[in-house]
């Protein structure tokens, strides 16, 4: 399974630790160097340091065109919404999960067909379930 994760933070670190079983190919895109270094220690994990203006180039560098799963997990709701929809509608990634902190946005984008997770949804379990569904 090829997993591309957008955003590096505490949530991502827990997710990567959970998903990295040696068989999954995981790529993490993020702007936080320390965080990327800490997730890179897990087996099968590749990291890409990003800065915002070249967002779509980074998605391609991260292998979005052949990812099985795309997780938009940054702490910026708007960026997550943008990249999750790019993954779903432009690159046709089979499974796209989008983390949103704002309850208003959670409701809207769930209605628009994104698999939305957030604190109100019981976070970690939901991501797991969404990937396996």
């Amino acid at each position: 399974m090829r997993v591309l994760i957008f955003g590096c933070n505490r949530l991502t670190s827990s997710l990567v630790a959970d998903l990295a079983d040696g068989t999954a190919e995981i790529t993490v895109l993020g702007g936080e160097r320390d965080c990327l270094e800490s997730v890179a220690v897990h087996p099968g994990v590749r990291v890409v340091l990003t800065s915002e203006p070249m967002m779509q180039d980074y998605l391609q560098e991260g292998g979005i065109d052949h990812a099985d799963v795309f997780l938009a997990m940054s702490s910026d709701d708007h960026q997550n919404i943008l990249v999750a929809q790019i993954a779903k509608h432009i690159f046709n990634v089979p499974k796209v999960v989008c983390h949103l902190g704002s309850p208003q946005l959670q409701v809207l984008y769930a209605a628009l067909g994104l698999d939305v997770v957030g604190y109100s949804f019981g976070l970690l379990q939901d991501v797991r379930q969404a990937i396996e569904a």
């Binding site: 967002m55 779509q56 708007h78 960026q79 943008l82 929809q85 790019i86 509608h89 432009i90 809207l108």
Partner: protein
């Protein structure tokens, strides 16, 4: 027309001013207090202080009766969210968004934003126009994915000079849509004859620029 503008940069300010002068009803939503004060001083009570990605702010701005919502914040992602919120929650008939990263244009079209203004393309086109010896200028992307509008000026030594348009073999799905001569523009027919310094405006599949360029400017 009732227009709500979200995010009021320099261009937002001039747009609101022009719209008000044109007799339109305008509300500008601005998050930054300093800019909000400035707007209120300059334009009167059209400005509303608040976050344009918050449903309550949009409600206060009367978005549900807006004819158009224009998202002009400095962030492509935020403009996408404003446009989708106003379109789906408030059923605004026309949503327009500004983008900076040209690669973001397809997703905006894909999710149904009505008008996408690509500021980088606009600036690039103006720059290209000013660079001598650059005969092909990209004008805009069409709503249909994969098609674009370009303009080509015919150099003096091009071998198509003197030929009729019907004699020129264009790449598939390419069309000359306008011929601009020194004395004005004309609609092309098969019998239009190409002259030096003509400007041809064409619709072509994205990626065919080089092929068209070679056909029309080749010596």
């Amino acid at each position: 027309m009732y227009v709500v503008i979200v995010g009021c940069s320099e261009s937002g300010y001039h747009l609101s001013k022009a719209l008000i002068a044109g007799g339109h009803e305008v509300v500008v939503v601005e998050k930054n207090n300093e800019r909000f004060q400035l707007l209120t001083e300059e334009l009167g009570s059209v400005a509303l202080l608040g976050d344009g990605t918050d449903e309550r702010t949009l409600k206060r701005a009367g978005v549900s009766r807006a004819d158009v919502v224009v998202s002009l914040t400095g962030f492509d992602a935020t403009n996408l969210v404003v446009s989708q919120m106003t379109k789906h929650i408030f059923k605004v008939p026309r949503t327009m968004a500004l983008i900076k990263d040209p690669k973001n244009e397809p997703i905006f079209h894909e999710v149904g934003i009505d008008v996408v203004v690509n500021s980088t393309h606009l600036v690039l086109a103006s720059l290209e126009e000013g660079v001598p010896g650059r005969p092909l200028v990209h004008l805009m992307n069409l709503r249909v994915p994969g098609m674009e509008l370009v303009s080509i000026s015919i150099p003096e030594d091009a071998n198509i000079i003197g030929k009729r348009l019907s004699e020129i073999e264009l790449p598939p799905n390419s069309f000359i849509t306008l011929v601009v001569k020194r004395d004005g523009a004309e609609l092309p027919t098969g019998r239009s004859v190409v002259e030096a310094d003509d400007e041809l405006v064409a619709v072509i599949p994205t990626g065919d620029e080089q092929i068209l360029h070679d056909i029309l400017t080749g010596v």
